[in-house]
Symmetry: C2
Subunit: 196 residues, 2 copies
DNA sequence: AGAACATAGGAACCGCCGTTCCGTTTGTCA
DNA sequence: TGACAAACGGAACGGCGGTTCCTATGTTCT
């Protein structure tokens, strides 16, 4: 998806497309491990490609980061859509949050992208973020209609909360102890979300 | 406090002590604004002092950051002590958390120190952190005894939670909208902390 | 096959920032 | 007040890492 097929642009040459994919995959792995301090050289090396090639595809480190941010949001959006199938309105919302959190545990990019990504990168991901917002909104609306969710809670609260949860994970992991205490925080929060 | 009066060391010269204080104050302001990417040059300029002078007092940027981290923890510890005066056990705990959060809103160092400070800086703050843990523990214990706090919640959960709340603030501020939605997150969490 | 143009590679460049170094200034104490 | 050590200032250093640039290598189309 996304990758190529620009409007007036001619399609990428076969090797170019292959390299682009390798670069994105490598970047994903390296950013997941090191966050935004990941170095272009390392990404290029992992993709078995020269730095110049990375810059041929992404004019800037931020552009590359932005592409990843977009993919993360798309992934989250797809999950939100998937959880609309769940019958119980509360379990649909809670399930999505739980599953997203589980995934975030292993992906530093996802944990940090909200506050560590540069404005440029954030902007690239903005459209995908809006779609996520829309799909997540449906889960929230359904829970409200069923009366199983605190009245004053809206979709807009989810982003900051997940961001916070990610940074709690970060702290626990860096300290290396009780690394799954974040699950307790999530459950406390979910309990707090039930109507009073 | 703290500053000088080493065991075998002779006291600092008057101007040196004055400068040390100016540096710490400047660093506090600059770190609060820029987080750990703050530059030594800017701190020196704000303190109206040469860079060399900064390095005379703190061998490393991390050492300076560490000093600030220590001060932040001391401040938090003092607050925990202060809230032990509050009669209602629940309000004592919740009040401390609320007040700490309010302060964090204006201090990027405090928001980020948990996960952005280098290991060296963290270590400098470690003793103060332990004291905070101890004092906070008293508030938690009192709430448990009174049966007004979820059984499975411990002091160790507070740090990661506050860290998460800080990063939610970060995100909201950087986006520049709904900058006080973090209060809702805090209230939801506090509700979740009541016994089931 | 071979011209023509896209793409790759990676050494070199450049600016940024923490840190060092040393000549100068200032406080202290006799 | 004079001498000496302590402290200061800020230009210069060094390394790191994002970005550029130019040559080499493929790919595609006739």
């Amino acid at each position: 998806m996304s990758a190529t097929v620009g409007s007036g642009e001619r399609p990428l040459r076969a090797d170019a497309r292959r390299n682009r994919e390798r670069i994105v995959a490598a970047a994903s792995a390296v950013f997941a491990q090191h966050g935004s301090v990941a170095q272009i050289d390392e990404i290029a090396a992992r993709a078995e490609v020269g730095v110049g090639t990375v810059y041929r595809h992404f004019p800037t480190k931020d552009a590359l980061m932005g592409e990843l941010v977009r993919q993360k949001f798309e992934r989250l959006r797809d999950r939100a859509i998937r959880f609309q199938e769940v019958a119980d309105p509360w379990e649909a919302l809670a399930g999505m949050l739980r599953e997203s959190a589980e995934e975030m545990e292993h992906d530093q990019t996802q944990r940090r992208m909200m506050w560590e990504a540069s404005p440029a990168a954030v902007e690239i991901g903005a459209p995908a973020r809006q779609e996520l917002q829309r799909e997540g909104g449906k889960l929230v609306a359904r829970a409200h209609e069923a009366g199983v969710l605190r009245r004053d809670f809206t979709v807009e609260h989810i982003g900051p909360f997940m961001c916070g949860l990610g940074s709690a994970m970060e702290m626990l992991q860096s300290r290396g102890e009780r690394t799954d205490d974040w699950r307790k925080l999530l459950e406390v929060f979910l309990d707090g979300l039930r109507p009073r």
